[in-house]
């Protein structure tokens, strides 16, 4: 089968169809999305080597569970052992022996086929188009925030970052608070948010400080420093950005202001699929361009462009 792999450099290769382990399903991939994490992997993040890609929708080709066979699915990316301390504590995302689709010790979904544990798969309602279903994974990561902190309707929330993840987070948080501003530096991306009635500001605009929550989704540690300026004393910064290289940071300010900084990663698929089905979160305008898998290298380059948002691969 054809696959887009990274082994020091990204390449399109022919490789064998994955052989599912017991309990795993083989999924024929229909469509997949390029995430900033994929671009960070190209810079060395996680030291990953193998087939890229962790956002996908596909059809189950083989598996033990009859209810899944032949069905359209999306998949959670953490594959866990069920035996370690964190699995026992019902924190499977933090399984000590986990592999992570296209990120850690497991081939990803930028390929004709992908293997995943059956338990990771979620049926996709027929009302959700393929190019919308691909957003289930990053949208779940946005919903993770609501599992971690209790944001109320009166809380002042700033989302930093007008990119793919920032746009999803802004829509999710906009569902719980009246006081949301999404801050970015790309006029056209901010306009997309405004069309959804989300208040926006430019990163260089003078901003009122003292937000109860600042959600950092810029994909850069410069965003982290800005978040620390904007959050109120004893406020909360949610940190979504993971990048390949350390950056010079000053942590005196969060100590002085007694800020809580909370790392946030993968989230629940159920509310994500629900929001996509009910169109509570709209993602269709976020797709910039779709490439065929054979043009995967061009797709990766396009995903790095300043004028690109979500780039999809049609498999």
């Amino acid at each position: 089968m054809r696959a887009l792999v990274f082994d020091g450099e990204p390449r399109i290769v022919e490789k064998p169809i994955p052989r599912p382990e017991p309990g795993e399903a083989l999924v024929k991939v229909l469509s997949a999305g390029i995430c900033n994490t994929d671009l960070e992997i190209l810079k060395g993040y996680m030291g990953f080597s193998g087939t890229l890609g962790h956002e996908f929708v596909g059809v189950v080709e083989t598996c033990d569970n009859e209810n899944l066979r032949g069905k359209r699915v999306v998949g959670e990316i953490n594959c866990v052992c069920h035996n370690c301390d964190y699995c026992a504590l019902e924190m499977p995302h933090h399984c000590l022996n986990r592999s992570v689709l296209g990120i850690l010790s497991r081939d990803g979904a930028f390929a004709e086929y992908v293997a995943l544990p059956e338990e990771n798969l979620h049926l996709v309602p027929t009302t959700i188009r393929d190019d919308v279903a691909v957003f289930a994974e990053p949208l779940a990561a946005a919903f993770r925030i609501l599992e971690q902190v209790n944001i109320t309707a009166e809380d002042r929330v700033i989302v930093l970052g007008d990119g793919k993840l920032g746009q999803l987070i802004a829509q999710v948080i906009g569902g719980v608070t009246r006081n949301l501003i999404c801050v970015g530096k790309h006029g056209w991306k901010l306009e997309l948010l405004q069309k959804m009635n989300i208040a926006v500001a430019h990163m260089d605009d003078p901003m009122e400080r003292g937000a109860d929550y600042v959600i950092e989704a810029t994909g850069s540690y410069i965003g982290f420093a800005r978040a620390l300026e904007l959050v109120r004393p004893e406020g909360v910064v949610i940190l979504k950005t993971t990048v390949a290289h350390p950056t010079a940071l000053d942590l005196s300010l969060p100590v002085i202001n007694e800020v809580s900084i909370i790392g946030s990663r993968c989230g629940p698929f159920r509310p994500a699929l629900d929001a996509l089905a009910k169109m509570n979160v709209d993602v269709r305008h976020m797709v910039t361009e779709t490439f065929e898998l054979r043009d995967g290298l061009r797709a990766l380059r396009r995903a790095s462009d300043a004028d690109a948002m979500k780039i999809l691969l049609h498999i």
Copy 2:
């Protein structure tokens, strides 16, 4: 009066006795302690210029409140406006218009006299010696942790840092959990902790990971990186260190592990004075040497020595 000031370099000078503002007391200083924050100020931290020092015990010379006059006191260091949003929210430590004794816009206590708002002063029980009372301020900062997080007897806690603050924190946290290890890199400091029945480890020892809480009090960002390695997924790092310069940090790990990092600064004096009076926290062995104020420059140098813990100034 004589004072130890910093204005780009530390100097002993003669300067006028402070004139208390309305509501302030004039305190004749008896003894004062050198903190790592003072040493960071010498490197540029907070851009402070003025009389150094924020840990002290003294006798109230003039004030409106009869109950304080002539009494021995220690003092909270944040001087607040009572008018701003954070004062209204009962977060006076975060007052937007605050001055901070010897740290921000207010002359400190390494001088014969210091002025502070009466409301900042706490009477010192007669059972507490001067060289013990000086520890009230840093010990309050240790007690602050118990206001921020709910550590239980079963929680696994690691205190990183065997210095002045680490020793105080270890004693305070040792009062609430059975599972405490204090990690440092100075054999003689670790021995002081062992004498108080606190389990210790050397910073280079292989350590079991997965602590519920790691309290970072090393005074260095290297300690922060170590804390992120030792804390469990979804665990908490309490950050006490403030240093003058930014450091290269990698925040991917706390995002992946969804760690909470909570800045922690000044704390409540009441439990601190209580613990000192009841000898629940013992600080007497922590005093390395006492200098006269006129030898303040030597005292500052001595406080930087690897074989020094608390250095006191006798005023």
